[in-house]
């Protein structure tokens, strides 16, 4: 078992990083100083062994197939990492004067223009740090827009049950009341139910297209028109944008606001849960409300950060962007061009449909249409026949070195597995995945009890989540304390 850092080391171990500068009390009154600093002193080699050992306990895109639905775990090109580390980017202070940051500003300006063109928006703000941050930014913009028009009775946010999971919490942050819309047997938002929910209290409708079933909302133009006619705004959650780049545009569908996850669609690595970047796009009537500052270019070709527009909601973080994440996305875009990006989306759709076609005779695949970049399948029949659940299949995949798909989301499909292979996987990998799944289903029939034992070969096996939750409620077990 690997010790925690805090159970390793000895006081006095470790390198010297600076020339001796005396003691803290040489510079400050004793009353301002902390009583102790209880951090471990470790040799660099101990630290290295520790973190290399930890890294071996992770699945990752570079080591494992990772078909996690709606997360777009595509390959992260190494060019991105090399350019992100350039000292001209890494060592640039956010308060450096604009004339000493022209390269950074040019990149941001070009990226904003490129995203606007690809997604049919008037403008983008590059400020939001992640998808959920983009969502709440857009909700703040919607609220400011309605307030500006004196239309403050709009307090409802409509969210279909196949929209991205973060949407309700983002809407609630600005005080919107969330109304859920069911989907049809065809896996699309029920336009009749949507129409019935529309009145003069609707502020915004948040949709994901393709939705989290991996299906395109065929009535999208009609739906955006209906919401607009009722005075509401349309918000596009870009979680599934990898299906549409270069093929169609949220702006053309009628969306007023949208976000992108640069860590999904544009190959910024997910980092074990961030950092990402969640730029927000806006149509012409919403663009004045975008967060400030934004990059502008003058007639002489000089770039600057413009502090604020009169209608801007203001900043949503202290500095202008997750700049180094933007560099990675920009690198991805310039090696692909619009054609390459479109081809990637097409191949993402191809890979998903290929797995879907081959999984059909193993598990239930609801909805008869071709999917987009992801699809869902159900283990409900398997559960009835054998007792094995989607969870058990997911854990069995781990033993084969395959990351589990997204499970039990969306709720409209019972015992759901949401599979998104992405375009960067080979046909051979997809074939192998299908065979592993087939073998697991066979195992469920042959020896149902064994399924609950899976996984057998991961670094730890199934963990006790109930006990940790009970203790955590009291603030226990969330940190090292030194107690045994």
């Amino acid at each position: 078992m690997l010790s925690l850092l805090f159970d390793q080391g000895e006081p006095g171990r470790g390198s010297d990083f600076v020339a001796p500068a005396g003691k803290p009390e040489d510079y400050l009154s004793a009353g301002l100083l902390r009583a102790g600093l209880p951090l471990p002193d470790l040799a660099e080699f101990e630290v290295t062994r520790h973190f290399v050992a930890l890294s071996h306990r992770n699945f990752s895109v570079d080591t494992n197939f990772y078909p996690l639905g709606s997360c777009t775990m595509k390959y992260n090109p190494k060019l991105n990492e090399a350019v992100a580390a350039f000292p001209g980017f890494a060592d640039l202070h956010p308060y450096a004067p604009d004339d000493a940051a022209q390269g950074a500003l040019e990149m941001m300006w070009t990226l904003e223009r490129t995203l606007s063109s690809l997604f049919g928006m008037e403008a983008f703000s590059l400020m939001p740090c992640a998808g959920a941050h983009g969502e709440v930014t857009a909700m703040l913009m919607a609220k400011a827009y309605h307030r500006e028009r004196g239309d403050e009775k709009r307090v409802t946010c409509i969210v279909p049950d196949t929209a991205h999971g973060t949407n309700p919490a983002s809407a609630a942050m600005v005080g919107y009341k969330v109304v859920s819309i069911p989907s049809t047997p065809q896996g699309r938002t029920d336009i009749g139910a949507l129409r019935a929910a529309l009145d003069d209290t609707v502020a915004v409708c948040m949709m994901t297209n393709p939705n989290t079933l991996g299906l395109f909302e065929d009535d999208i133009v009609e739906m955006t028109k209906a919401v607009h006619d009722a005075g509401g705004l349309m918000y596009y959650d870009g979680a599934n944008a990898n299906a549409i780049v270069g093929l169609c545009r949220p702006g053309d569908m009628g969306f007023d606001l949208m976000h992108l996850n640069l860590h999904k669609t544009f190959s910024v690595p997910h980092g074990g849960g961030g950092p990402g970047a969640g730029p927000v796009g806006a149509s012409a009537r919403l663009a004045p409300y975008l967060p400030a500052p934004r990059v502008v270019k003058d007639a002489g070709g000089v770039f600057s950060l413009r502090a604020s527009d009169a209608k801007s909601i203001g900043p949503v973080r202290v500095f202008a962007s997750h700049f180094i994440a933007l560099v990675r996305a920009y690198a991805y875009i310039i090696v692909h061009g619009a054609e390459g990006l479109r081809r990637n989306s097409e191949l993402a759709v191809l890979n998903a449909n290929y797995v879907r076609a081959k999984v059909k005779d193993i598990l239930t695949v609801p909805y008869s249409d071709h999917c987009r970049h992801e699809f869902v399948c159900s283990a409900e029949v398997l559960k009835k026949e054998t007792g094995a659940r989607a969870l058990d299949l997911a854990k069995g995949l781990l033993d084969a070195g395959i990351h589990a798909p997204t499970m039990y989301w969306p709720h409209v499909v019972p015992e759901c597995l949401m599979i998104e292979p992405t375009e960067t996987e080979t046909k051979e990998t997809l074939d192998e995945f299908v065979e592993v799944l087939r073998a697991l289903v066979k195992q469920a029939h042959d020896d149902p009890a064994s399924m609950q034992e899976l996984p057998l070969h991961t670094y730890v096996r199934r963990v006790d989540e109930a006990q940790v939750g009970r203790l955590a409620n009291k603030g226990i077990g969330l940190r090292w304390t030194g107690e045994k």
């Binding site: 600076v18 902390r34 630290v47 990752s60």
Partner: protein, 453 residues
């Protein structure tokens, strides 16, 4: 292009799918096809893309200048072990550790990060990270508002103005009233006047930053006493985390919530991000913490294991009743900070923090020795301080930039009553040669500027 498909692969896969062509399989519904060409530059071969980005990076002359800029982004030494270990494929290309069996590396690292945040702040519990210090402030305000049931918070005007601007953006949308406590003598928050008592009455939180935006160390304990008497929580904002190596902890000062920025621990200034926000609090508020939390448990074989816990607070389970909407956070940046703290240890952190104080005092003394420069405050400080120039700070900064120095931050941008004030920072990377060259140039420029008037 990184998709591996050959034409033959595509044909075979289409046959299995039963689709006639790739274009028809992926096409949008009729009428939504893109009709005009995209305004996107043609694809570049990888070597040319590399050269293009090298040109853009090279066009940032500010990255090569001798810098005395701080104000929320600090240039510190990054031990090479930090990026070497943190950017391993297994960390950088993983996702949020939902599958505990496949993510023990990330989960244990987050547990260690949570522990470091607690040890540094002295508080009981911490989460897996937030986007940055400014959004951490917003989350802290939401926590305090929920804990007290009060929709008003009182914040010191000595808190980073960029942080306060972000809070204002959210507060307008969330219906939270923000009142500001004035800047007092010596560039520290005024906690004594009668007006302040009125401002704090009825507030859910009293928010102070220490060291504050002007570099001064605040009387956080005094603010906490005032907050407590008014039934408010005390939030201490920490923007320069390096100060935690030597300064009294938020817990020792009586803060209920500590939050802020840990960019100083191993992350580059990177033109503003990504950095890593942190938040810590006393046990009683654990269920109000936003975002991911990792807890210690065991697996079915009794082996120690780590797992995401209290997910009942989070957006994907609790939907519109969640404590926050945050999902993706800053896991990799938190890993950088964790490896930084492991590498430097207590001994290293204390000595690096002390070196910051030494260099800042050498810089301040040398700058104050330049004719015309005056001090703005005699308060005790960590590694930043404010001086007054004999000409508008903006003009002096511009002159110094022409000599390849980033002299400091012009405070008049946020404080119009401080037209000549310059916020300066020194770190352990500020050399004595830098200070000598800078103050020499500063004397010349001030002399020339005054002569030109």
């Amino acid at each position: 292009m990184h998709a591996p498909h050959t034409d033959r692969d595509v044909r075979e896969m289409l046959d299995v799918i039963g689709a006639p062509s790739l274009a028809s399989l992926a096409a949008p519904p009729k009428g939504l096809e893109v009709k005009t060409p995209f305004d996107v530059a043609p694809a570049l071969p990888e070597s040319l893309a590399f050269a293009h980005l090298a040109r853009l990076a090279g066009a940032n002359s500010g990255a090569r200048m001798t810098s005395f800029l701080g104000a929320g982004a600090y240039r510190h030494y990054q031990p090479p072990a930090v990026p070497y270990l943190a950017t391993r494929s297994e960390f950088i290309t993983a996702y949020t550790p939902y599958q505990a069996e496949a993510s023990q590396g990330s989960l244990q690292a987050i547990f260690e990060w949570q522990t470091y945040v607690c040890l540094l702040t002295g508080l009981d519990v911490s989460n897996a990270s937030l986007y940055d210090g400014s959004t951490a402030l917003v989350e802290g305000v939401i926590m305090a508002s929920q804990a007290t049931g009060r929709r008003r918070v009182a914040i010191s005007r000595c808190v980073h103005p960029g942080y306060r601007a972000v809070l204002d953006t959210y507060a307008r949308g969330m219906g939270i009233e923000v009142v500001e406590l004035p800047v007092g003598a010596d560039l520290s928050v005024d906690m004594k006047s009668a007006a302040v008592k009125d401002l704090v009455a009825g507030a859910g939180a009293v928010i102070v930053q220490s060291p504050n935006f002007f570099g001064c160390i605040e009387d956080v304990a005094g603010a906490a006493a005032l907050a407590k008497s008014a039934g408010a929580l005390t939030i201490q904002v920490i923007v320069e985390a390096m100060s935690l190596g030597v300064l009294k902890t938020p817990a020792e000062s009586g803060a209920d919530i500590a939050l802020g920025e840990m960019q100083s621990f191993g992350l580059p200034v990177g033109y503003g991000g990504p950095y890593v926000g942190f938040i810590a609090c006393t046990k009683e508020h654990v269920r109000r913490l936003p975002g991911r939390l990792v807890g210690e448990t065991h697996d079915v074989d009794g082996r120690r294991a780590f797992v995401l816990t209290l997910q009942g607070r989070e957006q994907h389970i609790r939907r519109e009743l969640a404590s926050s909407n945050i999902c993706t956070n800053q896991a990799l940046c938190a890993l950088f900070a964790t490896i930084y703290l492991a590498t430097v240890g207590a001994h290293g952190l204390r000595s690096i923090a002390t070196a910051n104080m030494e260099r800042a005092r050498e810089l301040r003394a040398a700058v104050l020795a330049v004719p015309g420069i005056r001090p703005s405050s005699e308060a005790q400080y960590f590694n930043e301080f404010v001086v007054k120039a004999p000409l508008p700070a903006a003009l002096l900064i511009e002159r110094m930039e022409r000599r390849n120095f980033l002299a400091g931050v012009d405070l008049s941008r946020w404080y119009p009553d401080m037209p000549d004030a310059l916020l300066m920072c020194a770190t352990e990377l500020t050399s004595r040669e830098d200070i000598a060259a800078f103050t020499g140039a500063l004397a010349t420029e001030i002399n020339d500027a005054l002569a030109a008037v």
